[in-house]
């Protein structure tokens, strides 16, 4: 493994005869026993392993990934990071995550291309401007940056929207978080994998967990397609497969698995300089460094584990794109894909202990898991190491729904995503 990446290592490599770069992380065979096993080698699983090793000195750790690193949602999302939440627990958690993104490339010695291009949500009614003012004030009271933009100010930032009186959803202004932005998602997976591996964590690809080894109400290991592997503690971080894996330990979760699609157009010259979201419908778009417009909308709306999206949702999202940004009608769609997400009743995640001893859960990320990756890894590692949650994830417990402490960010009740 290369010790560190720098301008000098690039120059040295350029001058050497053509040989490939060394592997970024080691590929060991699984041992028969670990202190901690993390199931799922996505962003959250890898970050958890990294912080277990770095912050808690627990290095006898394996991350078991059924496919290859980056094959899950960590490599499928629309890469948006932000911290414009309103409920206390969410605000503190997602702001911590944004702060961790700010130093992540240095921490991991891997360029994650963190881009603070800012996010603007466009308001389509005077009532929505009021609610954005309220959101912005709550953010600022928590020390988070937020600016309300009137129509004129918005027009300077986003001149390409349809500001006409006849727009289907006339534009009134927007809310701007300048520290929000995008991060190159593959680099996050690779960077955490490389940094964890350098601290001694085993990253084991093509290793699917097919069952749990139990001793009464305690998990003592996992069954995999590469044999039985024992562990003192087991953490689940499998995104859309949370229910599927938790069931192996006899647990039933407040989760349904749904598909979310994402889209990218042909590349064009730089034009959209922010992440732009819309108040009229769930729609979010940014322009990639290659020039393509990367965007998405709602989930398809019925539970499924197929990563194939439905055509009607493609049409819905295109309609959103064209009504907010008329120029989009002239771009050709290049690719689209889907990822399976675990949707929860209140739209908020779980980072917690479970009723089974030695088994920990990180899941229920809905639309918002990518921006959460660093804080999720940090707090899940803390929860596993101490057998107790960190202050930042104490509210993300499994029994919060039963206790009436749901974190319903949109304030519209049970199963917010179905409404």
């Amino acid at each position: 493994m290369p010790k560190s990446y720098s301008i000098f290592s690039i120059l040295r490599h350029a001058l050497r005869p053509s040989e490939p770069w060394p592997e970024a992380w080691a590929k060991p065979a699984p041992k028969s026993n670990y202190d901690v096993i993390i199931i799922g080698g996505g962003g959250h699983g890898l970050a958890t392993a990294y912080y277990l090793a770095k912050n808690h000195g627990i290095t006898n750790v394996a991350v078991l990934e059924k496919s290859y690193i980056g094959s899950g949602n960590v490599g499928r999302n629309t890469t948006i990071i932000r911290s414009n939440y309103m409920l206390g627990a969410n605000t503190a958690f997602f702001e911590k995550s944004l702060q961790l993104w700010e130093g992540l490339s240095h921490d991991l010695d891997f360029n994650c291309m963190v881009s603070h291009r800012g996010q603007i949500v466009v308001a389509v009614s005077p009532g929505q401007m009021d609610s954005f003012a309220r959101r912005g004030n709550l953010m600022r009271l928590n020390g988070i940056d937020a600016e309300l933009l009137d129509r004129k100010e918005l027009e300077k930032e986003l001149p390409y929207l349809d500001y006409s009186k006849h727009a289907r959803f006339p534009i009134w202004g927007g809310i701007h978080q300048r520290r929000a932005g995008t991060v190159r998602h593959d680099a996050v997976a690779w960077g955490y994998a490389r940094a964890a591996s350098a601290l001694g964590v085993h990253i084991i690809e093509d290793c699917e967990v097919t069952g749990m080894v139990m001793d009464g109400n305690k998990v003592t290991g996992v069954e995999t397609n590469r044999g039985r592997i024992l562990a003192g503690k087991v953490g689940i971080a499998v995104a859309g497969h949370s229910s599927h894996v938790a069931r192996m330990a006899g647990l039933r979760l407040p989760v349904e698995s749904h598909i979310l699609q994402a889209f990218v157009t042909e590349p064009v010259k730089p034009m959209v300089h922010h992440v732009v979201s819309w108040g009229a419908e769930l729609f979010y778009l940014s322009q990639s460094d290659k020039g393509g417009m990367v965007f998405g909308g709602h989930i398809d709306g019925f539970n499924t584990y197929t990563q194939r999206g439905q055509f009607f949702k493609i049409r819905d999202v295109m309609e959103c794109a064209v009504s907010l940004m008329p120029f989009m009608s002239r771009l050709r769609l290049l690719r689209h894909w889907g990822g399976i997400m675990d949707m929860t009743p209140d739209g908020s995640p779980f980072i917690c202990k479970t009723p089974v001893d030695g088994l920990y859960l990180n899941g229920g990320w809905c639309y918002q898991g990518f921006k959460a990756t660093p804080a999720s890894g940090l707090t899940f590692a803390h929860t596993i190491a101490n057998d107790a949650p960190h202050d930042l994830n104490a509210a993300f417990a499994l029994d919060r729904l039963m206790k009436g402490r749901e974190l319903d960010e949109h304030g519209i009740g049970n199963w917010t995503y179905k409404q």
């Binding site: 229910s243 039933r252 979760l253 698995s257």
Partner: protein
């Protein structure tokens, strides 16, 4: 995906609204156990495989019906009834 409506026949999925797991049993009205209600209201089997579920033909005859579908493939296993 195309869904067989028991009244109108096979139509595109976008004419329908999904109604969730059809195997849940509502607890008895006077049941006071929180766990029981928690399991009914919030928890789901959410299987990767055969699933029995409700759909409504919202843009057609508006009938509610049950359907069996494989959530791993979206293959329809049993017609609407």
């Amino acid at each position: 995906m195309r869904i067989p409506c028991p009244h109108c026949g096979e139509r595109d999925v976008n004419e329908f609204r999904y109604g969730g797991d059809a195997t849940k049993q509502r607890p008895a009205h006077g049941d006071k156990d929180f766990q029981t209600w928690n399991a009914y209201v919030f928890e789901f089997d959410n299987p990767k495989g055969p699933h029995e579920e409700f759909w409504q033909h919202t843009l057609g005859c508006r009938q509610w019906f049950r359907l069996k579908r494989n959530t791993a493939t979206n293959q329809i296993l049993g017609g609407g009834q």
